[in-house]
Symmetry: C2
Subunit: 229 residues, 2 copies
């Protein structure tokens, strides 16, 4: 399948690499291709520049957002939360009728770490994206765990932990569930419609604080229930 | 130990009963003892009236908030979130120097289920309570799972799931950890100071939606990590 990943950060790279390894044809979308490839400095988190990563992944084309939007049969939003609505709006026509997998989180680092959320409680980024792209099928998922675990759940406790998803379109959720299963996910909870992005995004203030308390981002939430007889 | 539980709902009753069974001397605090005992109607959730429950638990005295505050060496806040700051302020002097275990959640049901939070993101109920009771040692805990699991973690998956706590006073957190262990908790994560109540309380919008998706409140969060070598 042709899949476009929007965003050149660690989350976007992780999904692009995994989807390529699974046989999909993948492009990554960015604002300015030349500028992205010219930057060779690590980001604030110490992650290597996209240009460095790309030398080992030249089969994954870097293209402008608009080209990526046209290319993808399914599109993955791995943009920063505060850039998502504006950038997705700018390519809205190319995303019409398509599944948009929204991985982003509305993190506000303006007051340092841990970040607060720029939208929460009575609204969510997932809902805001669905509102500006009414013709697209937004499926929120993957936002509650670290990127390496998102695409390779087996690296943590043999995948004995949970992935969540939500969205308004049942068929879109089934298709995204198939992709998650191809990543190795075995425990996936469908939370319901896109308003449930409020719950999923509001786990981030706990996620970031657990990262602080555990001094390690390689964890995930498991929902523990008793076996049903 | 003499422990006062403020609040006559299911959470308060669960802790009062458990603490009594562990040998503590327990009272429950309410606004108006006669009024609470005169009410024999179930609440909106279908839980039996306090007066009905109390017939089987007459060893647990029901007293006015002020009396409860004076009585307790440790005090448990099991009040409704929207009533907590006002009621606790009214008995603030009796709580001076004491540990206050804050179990409450700032749930706003004014627009139905699932509730939103009346405070979140850049503040929390735990912090608001600490702010109005600067001489008390607030320890936030237990708010992220159902009352029966809070006091009997072993009933769910042999207690293989997590309890969190946070607060500004290290010694107070140690004492509360001992109480949690006496309840049966084996996996407890100290999240740090009271500002971490933001993360713990913001799990509730996910908790309430998981309750909806799973159609069962008897679950809890486990933080899954790989074993360290």
């Amino acid at each position: 399948m042709k899949i476009a990943v929007l965003g050149t950060g660690m989350v976007g790279r992780s999904h692009a690499e995994k989807l390529t390894s699974l046989g999909h044809e993948v492009v990554i979308g960015t604002h300015d291709v030349e500028k992205t490839l010219a930057n060779d400095k690590p980001d604030q988190m110490g992650n290597s520049a996209f240009s460095v990563w790309h030398k080992d992944h030249e089969n994954i084309k870097l293209v402008p957002f608009a080209t990526a939007g046209e290319f993808g049969e399914i599109v993955v939003n791995a943009l920063k939360g505060d850039a998502s609505v504006e950038i997705l709006s700018s390519v809205k026509h190319s995303l019409s009728g398509k599944i948009l997998i929204d991985i982003s989180n509305p993190l506000d680092f303006s007051k340092g770490f841990p970040p607060s959320l720029s939208v929460c409680n009575t609204d969510s980024l997932g809902e805001q994206i669905q509102a500006v792209l009414p013709e697209s099928k937004i499926v929120k998922t993957c936002n509650t765990t670290a990127a390496p675990i998102q695409v390779n759940p087996q690296i943590l406790a043999n995948a004995d932990h949970h992935m969540f998803l939500c969205g308004n379109d049942a068929d879109a959720k089934l298709k995204v569930t198939e992709i998650l299963k191809s990543y190795g996910w075995v425990s996936i909870i469908d939370m319901g419609d896109i308003t449930n992005a409020r719950g999923m995004e509001m786990m981030l203030p706990m996620w970031t604080r657990l990262f602080g308390a555990l001094k390690n981002p390689m964890f995930n939430f498991k929902i523990v229930q008793n076996p049903t007889s």
